[in-house]
C-alpha cells in the first residue's frame, strides 16, 4: 500500500457485502496509522477478497495486465489424467473461454509463476506425488471468502476425474494484485504436488505446504522478477506467517481437524469488524509451526513427503506421522527439533492437534503496536478475542459474549490505572480492545503485564512485555522481546536473557520480568535456530535457570520463557465415580486423548450451568487447566498428563453463573479463605467478601460412597463442604453473579496482591455501548486527575481501524477520551457505518458514583433528556452517520 494511504473497509448498501476504498487514514492522528499498520495485516486479506469486490471487478472488465509473457494453454478435453503413480511433473491447463477462464493477463501471471518457481518447488517440496495435467480454473465468483483468503483450493478429483486448482482473482479496486496471486498460487501448486497423497489434517497438510510456500517465496529469484519482493513479504506476513508471535498464539482453541468449519466454508464474511471465525489464524499458525521445522531442517519437506508418498496409508495417525517425522530428522542427520523429539515437539503445538472437540472455545491474540509511538505511550497492544463453539459435526457457531480482561502487574496486583477496566464485546465470534500500559508504576522501565481474558468458563492468559518492544522514547522496535515467568521477585537478583545463534551471543537485560533486545546484526534478520538462556545473578553467582531452543523465522520474535514450568501432573483414578481435577493446562484437548483410551470407553462428564445439565465426553468441552470432571472407571490407575503451566504465579479460572466444577490448579494445597474472586472491572475480593453477591458460601468436595453391590465400586457419593483444597483437587463452586466471575488461586509464592500498586486518583468514566441486532461498538470517556484536556497517550486511546462495521467514537477519533478532573464537560459521540432503517440502542453506563447525572442529546430527533445512572436510548438510523452529545455535571 502506498505510504500515507489507508486501505479501509466500508459497508455498502447491502448488509452482507463489503467494498474497498483507498482513502486517507481514518484519523488525523498518528496513532490510528500505527494501529492500522498492525491490524491491517489481517484485514487487508479480507478487504481485497470479498465477493462484492471480485464481482465488481468481473463486471468492470478485465483487470490491468501485469504479466504478458506467452503461455501455453491447453484446451478442454485435451488433457487426460495419467495412470502414472510416483514422482513426475505436472502441467497446468487453463480454460480459454467461458466462466472458468481467467483474464489472459492473469492467466499469464499464473503460468509465469509456475514456470519460474518450478525448480524451487521441486527442491523444497520434492517432486510431485504424481505427474499429469492440473487444471487451473477461475472460481472467483463461487469460492467462499475464507477459501480465497486461505489461498485457493486444490481438488485431486473435481468430479470429472480431473485434477483442479480452483483459484480466485486477487485484486482490489485498482487492479490485480500480482504478488498476492503469486504467493497463493505457489500454495495451491504445492497442494497439487501432493496430489492424492495429502496429509490427513489441515494442521499437518496445509501447515507444511504453507511453510514451504514461505520458504520458496522468500528465496531470491524464485518468483518472477516482475514481482515486488517487499509486497511478497507483505502477503506472507498478512496471511501465512505468524512466526514472530507464535508463543503468544499457541493456544488450544487452534486444535481440530480442519481450519474452515464445514458450515462456514461458503458463508460470507460477516460485517461489523468480525474476521469471521478462527480460520486465518489457524492457517498462519500452521505455516509458522512447520516453518520452525524447515528452519532447522531445510530439506525436511522433500524427505518427509517422499517417504509419505511411498506408503501414505501407513501414516494416518499423529503417532505414525510423528514417527515418520523422527525418522526424517535422522535421515537429515539430526535427532531433535527445537531440542525435543519430533513427537514431543508436535504435541506442544496445538495447531497440529487434529482432535475434534465440541464445545465453546476462546483464542486470544495480541499484537504489539510497534511504530511511531508518542507522548507517554508505553506498551500498547491490540488484543483480539475469538470466541466460538464447535459442534459435534465440526460446524462452528460464531458466538456473542462479553469479557472483562484482568491486567496484572509483575507482582500480580490488579492494575488500577486507566485502561484497566476494558471490556471486550465479542460479536460474531470476534472482539478486540487496545489497552495502553503506561509506565508510571516502574519509572518507565519495562515490565511484565499478565492479561487474563475470561469468557464464559474459558480463560486465556497472556504474558506481555510492556515497554520492551517500542516506546515513545525508544521507538525502534526490538528484535527479541518477551517475558519471564516462574521467577519470584527478589531484591538482590538480576536476570538476563542470552540469545545465541551460531557462535554469536547477545545478552539482554531483564527488568520486572520483561525484556527487549535490539540486535542490529543483519544475520539475525533471517531464519535462525536460537538457543535462549535465562540467567540469574545473585550474590555474585550466576546460574542458568532456563535453556530453550527456538527456531525463528524472518524478523523479530516474541518469547514467553517459563522457568520451572509445570510440564505435567499425575491424574490418580480410582475404580468407580469420582471428581478429578485438571491440575495444569494439558497438551491434550480431550479426555480420551489425555488418557490414551478409545473415546467410547471413556466416561467423563462436566456440569454445564448454562444448560443446567451434565455434558459427557467427548462433548464436554476442551480439557483446560483448573477445570474439574466427574470420571467413572472400572479399574484404578495413575495416568501422567503432559501439561504446560507457568509456576510461581496465581492461576485464574473462569466461572459461569451457576454451579461450576473446577479444581485447584496449583501444586500445593490452598485454603478457601485464600481464594479470590474478580467480577467485571472490580478489584479482587476475598472469598468471604464475595460470599453472597458473587459466590455461594460453600464449596463442595465429592466423596464416593460405598462399593456398589453389583459393580463392586462406588457408583454414587455425597458432597461435603470443605475449607481446604488439596493440590489438583476438584470441587463444586456456586456463582451467583450474573456475569460470572474469575476465581484466582494464589499459593504462598504467587498470591495475588489485592492492593492497587498506585493509589487511585479521583476519576470517573462512562461507557457508551452501541448495538444493533447484528453488531456493536463502544467507547469510554471521563475525567481523571492527572489527565489533561489534550491528548494523553497514557489515558486516551484512539479508535482502532480495521473495523469495517459499526463505528462509534468520542469526538473525531477517540475510543477512550479522558480529560482533566473536575468541571462540566461535553462529549460528542460520532456514530458511523449505520445501516439505514436499522434499529440501534446506545447504552450509557456511568462507572462511578462521582458523576451520575448527565444530559443526553440526539439532535437528529431533537431529543433531549436528563439522565441519571445507566440509561438506554434506541433509534432507527435514517443516515449513515449520526452525532449525539453527552453533557456531564461537575464531578463530586
Amino acid at each position: 500500500m502506498a505510504a500515507g494511504m489507508a486501505l479501509c473497509l466500508s459497508p455498502l448498501a447491502s448488509a452482507t457485502t463489503l467494498t474497498v476504498e483507498n482513502t486517507a487514514g481514518r484519523s488525523t492522528s498518528s496513532r490510528d496509522q500505527l494501529i492500522e499498520s498492525t491490524v491491517k495485516r489481517f484485514t487487508s486479506n479480507l478487504e481485497i477478497l470479498t465477493s462484492k469486490e471480485r464481482l465488481a471487478l468481473a463486471q468492470a472488465g478485465r483487470p490491468v495486465p501485469i504479466v504478458t509473457a506467452p503461455v501455453r494453454v491447453l484446451l478442454p478435453g485435451l488433457a487426460s489424467r495419467p495412470n502414472f503413480r510416483g514422482a513426475g511433473d505436472i502441467t497446468l491447463a487453463f480454460e480459454n473461454s467461458g466462466g472458468r477462464a481467467f483474464d489472459p493477463a492473469y492467466q499469464a501471471l499464473l503460468q509465469s509463476v509456475f514456470n519460474t518457481v518450478r525448480t524451487r518447488l521441486n527442491l523444497t517440496f520434492g517432486l510431485p506425488s504424481e505427474g499429469g495435467t492440473v487444471w487451473v480454473r477461475n472460481y472467483d465468483a463461487d469460492m467462499g471468502d475464507r477459501d480465497a483468503v486461505a489461498g485457493g483450493i486444490y481438488l485431486d478429483n473435481n468430479g470429472n476425474s480431473e485434477r483442479e486448482i480452483r483459484f480466485p482473482v486477487y485484486a482490489d479496486g485498482i487492479g490485480i494484485k500480482p504478488e498476492v496471486a503469486a504467493v497463493n498460487f505457489v500454495h495451491t501448486l504445492l497442494l497439487a504436488y501432493q496430489g492424492n497423497k495429502r496429509l490427513p489434517w489441515d494442521g499437518w497438510d496445509e501447515g507444511l505446504v504453507r511453510a514451504a510456500t514461505m520458504r520458496i517465496c522468500r528465496t531470491p529469484g524464485a518468483l518472477p522478477a516482475t514481482l515486488d519482493s517487499e509486497s511478497v513479504e507483505g502477503v506472507l506476513q498478512g496471511s501465512y506467517d505468524l512466526g514472530g508471535l507464535y508463543d503468544w498464539n499457541n493456544q488450544r482453541a487452534l486444535s481440530g481437524p480442519v481450519f474452515i468449519a464445514p458450515n462456514l466454508r461458503n458463508a460470507q464474511l460477516p460485517v461489523g469488524g468480525s474476521v469471521g471465525g478462527l480460520y486465518l489464524l489457524r492457517y498462519m499458525m500452521s505455516g509458522s509451526a512447520w516453518q520452525k521445522v524447515l528452519v532447522e531442517y531445510p530439506a525436511f519437506a522433500s524427505e518427509f513427503l517422499a517417504d509419505y508418498y511411498a506408503n501414505s496409508s501407513a501414516y494416518q495417525s499423529v503417532s505414525q506421522l510423528s514417527a515418520l517425522g523422527q525418522s526424517t530428522l535422522a535421515t537429515l542427520g539430526g535427532s531433535t527439533l527445537e531440542g525435543k523429539s519430533f513427537a514431543q515437539w508436535a504435541r506442544g503445538q496445538f495447531i497440529l492437534n487434529p482432535t475434534l472437540t465440541p464445545g465453546i472455545k476462546l483464542q486470544v491474540q495480541p499484537f504489539p503496536i510497534l511504530d511511531g509511538l508518542g507522548g507517554s505511550d508505553f506498551g500498547v497492544f491490540a488484543i483480539q478475542a475469538h470466541f466460538f463453539q464447535t459442534l459435534p459435526n465440526g460446524d462452528e457457531s460464531l458466538l456473542r459474549a462479553t469479557s472483562y480482561p484482568i491486567y496484572w502487574s509483575p507482582d500480580f496486583t490488579r492494575f488500577f490505572a486507566s485502561a484497566q477496566d476494558d471490556r471486550i464485546d465479542i460479536v460474531q465470534a470476534y472482539g478486540n480492545v487496545v489497552p495502553n500500559f503506561p509506565g508510571t508504576p516502574f519509572d518507565s522501565q519495562p515490565y511484565r503485564v499478565t492479561v487474563d481474558v475470561p469468557v464464559e468458563d474459558q480463560l486465556e492468559r497472556l504474558s506481555l512485555p510492556s515497554g520492551s518492544i517500542a516506546t515513545a522514547s525508544s521507538p525502534d522496535p526490538r528484535e527479541v522481546y518477551g517475558t519471564i515467568t516462574g521467577v519470584l521477585p527478589a531484591t538482590n537478583q538480576t536476570l538476563t536473557v542470552e540469545v545465541q545463534y551460531g557462535s554469536t551471543i547477545q545478552t539482554i537485560p531483564v527488568q520486572n520480568f520483561a525484556f527487549g533486545g535490539q540486535i542490529t546484526d543483519t544475520a539475525f534478520e533471517g531464519s535462525l535456530p536460537l538457543t535462549i538462556r535465562v540467567k540469574r545473578t545473585a550474590s555474585s553467582s550466576t546460574t542458568t535457570i532456563l535453556t530453550r531452543r527456538v527456531n525463528k523465522g524472518p524478523g523479530p520474535i516474541a518469547l514467553v520463557l517459563n522457568v520451572d514450568e509445570r510440564t505435567g501432573f499425575d491424574l490418580v483414578l480410582n475404580p468407580g465415580v469420582q471428581m478429578v481435577g485438571i491440575a495444569a493446562d494439558p497438551l491434550a484437548v480431550r479426555m480420551d486423548e489425555a488418557l490414551a483410551e478409545p473415546v467410547n470407553q471413556v466416561q467423563a462428564s462436566r456440569w454445564n450451568p448454562l444448560l443446567a445439565l451434565f455434558e459427557f465426553s467427548p462433548n464436554s468441552g476442551q480439557l483446560r487447566g483448573g477445570h474439574g470432571y466427574f470420571v467413572k472407571r472400572e479399574t484404578g490407575s495413575t495416568v501422567p498428563i503432559a501439561a504446560s503451566q507457568p509456576s510461581n504465579q496465581p492461576i485464574s479460572v473462569a466461572l459461569r453463573q451457576g454451579w461450576n466444577i473446577v479444581c485447584n490448579p496449583l501444586p500445593s494445597s490452598v485454603s478457601k479463605s485464600t481464594l479470590q474472586l474478580v467480577t467485571e472491572s472490580n478489584f479482587p475480593s476475598t472469598y468471604a467478601e464475595a460470599t453472597g453477591p458473587i459466590v455461594g458460601p460453600d464449596i463442595f468436595r465429592f466423596v464416593p460412597g460405598a462399593p456398589d453391590v453389583v459393580t463392586g465400586f462406588p457408583e454414587t457419593g455425597n458432597f461435603t463442604s470443605i475449607s481446604g483444597i488439596q493440590a489438583g483437587e476438584a470441587f463444586f463452586i456456586k456463582v451467583l453473579s450474573p456475569t460470572g466471575a474469575t476465581l484466582v488461586f494464589g499459593d504462598a509464592q504467587g498470591r495475588p496482591n489485592r492492593l492497587p500498586s498506585v493509589a487511585p486518583p479521583p476519576q470517573w468514566t462512562m461507557k457508551a455501548h452501541l448495538t444493533s441486532a447484528v453488531d456493536g461498538a463502544d467507547v469510554v470517556f471521563g475525567q481523571l486527575q492527572g489527565a489533561t484536556n489534550g491528548t494523553d497517550r497514557a489515558y486516551d486511546i484512539e479508535s482502532p481501524p480495521g473495523n469495517a462495521g459499526l463505528g462509534l467514537r468520542v469526538g473525531a477519533s477517540f475510543y477512550r477520551d479522558t480529560r482533566a478532573w473536575g468541571g462540566q464537560a461535553s462529549y460528542s459521540l460520532s456514530l458511523s457505518n449505520l445501516k439505514l432503517g436499522r434499529s440501534y440502542t446506545i447504552r450509557l453506563t456511568p462507572q462511578t458514583t462521582r458523576m451520575t447525572r448527565y444530559r443526553f442529546r440526539d439532535p437528529a430527533r431533537r431529543y433531549v433528556r436528563d439522565f441519571q445512572g445507566e440509561q438506554t436510548y434506541t433509534f432507527t438510523a435514517n443516515a449513515r452517520t449520526r452525532s449525539m452529545t453527552v453533557e456531564t455535571e461537575r464531578p463530586r
Binding site: S14, A15, V577, Q601, V602, Q603, W607, P609, L610, L611, A612, L613, F614, E615, F616, P618, N619, S620, F630, K632, Q657, G658, W659, D708, V709, V710, T711, E715, T716, G717, F719, F732, A773, V774, N789, G811, R819, G823, Q824, A825, S826, G837, R838, S839, T841, T852, R853, R855, V864, R865, D866, F867, Q868, Q871, T872, T874, T876, E887, E889, R890
Partner: protein, 293 residues
C-alpha cells in the same frame, strides 16, 4: 483542549440548570417509545422475504431487508403482532409478549415461519422435581409463564416442516426468581400443530447442594406413589450391570458406556417389564420413564 473550553463556555449555564434541577426536571417524559427488534424466518435463519408487518395498536411498519424494525409504541405496550406471509401461503399472525415498556426497548429476535405450533411443557425444580409456577419460558420470541401446575403453553411458535432441524435449534430460555436462568432446546418437533417438550429443570440459586452426579440413562418410575422405593435394574445382554432403588422423587439414573441395555423396574408384584435402551455414544443421554404395571 480547545474543544472542551469552548463547549463548557457555551454549556455552562445549561449545566448549572441541570445540576440544580436534580437531573429530572429539565424535560417532560414522552408518552411513547421506540420499540425495535429483529424478525427472523425460521426456514433459513434470514430475514422474512417479503418483509413482515409489525403491528402495535393501529400502527404498522414493515421489516427492513435485514429483518429489523422499529416502531413507536405507547408506554406500557407489552406485545407486538407480526404478520408474515410465507411463500405460497396465507398471512400468519405471531404474537410476541414482553414486559410493558417504559423506555426505548429492543425486544430482540422474533421468529416467524410458514406454520405455527403450540409448544407446551413443564418447568421443575431440578433437585426435588417439584413443578414450578411463575417461571418464564421463551422460545423463538414467544413467551409464556407457567401456571400453578408448572405447565407453560407457548402459542404460535414458528415452525417449518420442511426444515425441522431449525425448530430443534431454536434457543429457549427459562428463568424464575430463586433459580439460575438456563438455556434449553426443543427435543421434539411439532406434530399436528403441537409439541410437548421434555421438562425444563431449573437449578435453585440458594442453599442446597451441587447438582449431583452424572447419569446418561435416567428417568422416573411411574406411577406415583408406587414408583417410590422401586428397584430398577440395568442389564446388558441379560447380565445385570447396575441396580438402584428409587427415592421419594421416583428417579433412577445410570452412567454406563455405550451398549444395548434394558431397564426394568420392580416393586413387589408390580413390574415395568424390560424397556430397551440403546446408548450409541458416550456423549448421548437418554431419558426413559418406566411404568409399573
Amino acid at each position: 483542549m480547545r474543544r472542551v473550553a469552548l463547549l463548557i463556555a457555551l454549556l455552562g449555564a445549561m449545566m448549572l440548570a441541570l445540576v440544580g434541577c436534580g437531573g429530572g426536571g429539565g424535560t417532560t417524559g414522552p408518552t411513547s417509545f421506540e420499540l425495535s427488534g429483529l424478525v427472523e424466518n425460521i426456514s433459513n435463519g434470514g430475514a422474512p422475504t417479503p418483509g413482515a408487518t409489525v403491528q402495535v395498536g393501529s400502527s404498522t411498519v414493515t421489516t427492513a431487508s435485514d429483518g429489523s424494525f422499529a416502531i413507536q409504541a405507547p408506554t406500557g405496550t407489552n406485545f407486538v403482532l407480526v404478520i408474515y406471509t410465507p411463500p405460497g401461503g396465507g398471512p400468519l399472525t405471531f404474537r410476541f409478549d414482553f414486559a410493558g415498556i417504559t423506555d426505548d426497548t429492543n425486544v430482540g429476535k422474533l421468529v416467524v415461519g410458514p406454520q405455527q405450533a403450540n409448544v407446551t411443557g413443564a418447568v421443575r425444580d431440578q433437585q426435588d422435581n417439584s413443578l414450578l409456577a411463575g417461571a418464564t419460558v421463551t422460545l423463538g420470541g414467544i413467551r409464556a409463564t407457567t401456571g400453578a401446575n408448572g405447565i407453560y403453553i407457548l402459542s404460535g411458535v414458528a415452525y417449518d416442516p420442511a426444515t425441522p432441524a431449525t425448530f430443534l435449534a431454536l434457543e429457549g430460555r427459562a428463568g424464575r426468581a430463586g433459580y439460575f436462568p438456563r438455556i434449553f432446546f426443543p427435543d421434539v418437533t411439532p406434530s399436528g400443530g403441537t409439541a410437548t417438550l421434555s421438562d425444563v429443570l431449573l437449578q435453585p440459586d440458594s442453599g442446597g447442594a451441587p447438582p449431583g452426579t452424572p447419569f446418561n440413562i435416567e428417568g422416573f418410575v411411574n406411577p406415583s406413589p408406587d414408583g417410590v422405593g422401586a428397584v430398577v435394574e440395568l442389564r446388558l445382554g441379560g447380565t445385570l450391570v447396575r441396580q438402584v432403588t428409587t427415592g421419594a422423587n421416583r428417579k433412577y439414573g445410570f452412567w454406563v458406556v455405550p451398549g444395548n441395555y434394558t431397564v426394568t423396574a420392580t416393586k413387589g408384584t408390580l413390574t415395568s417389564g424390560p424397556v430397551p435402551v440403546n446408548l450409541t455414544s458416550p456423549a448421548e443421554t437418554i431419558r426413559r420413564d418406566v411404568t409399573l404395571l
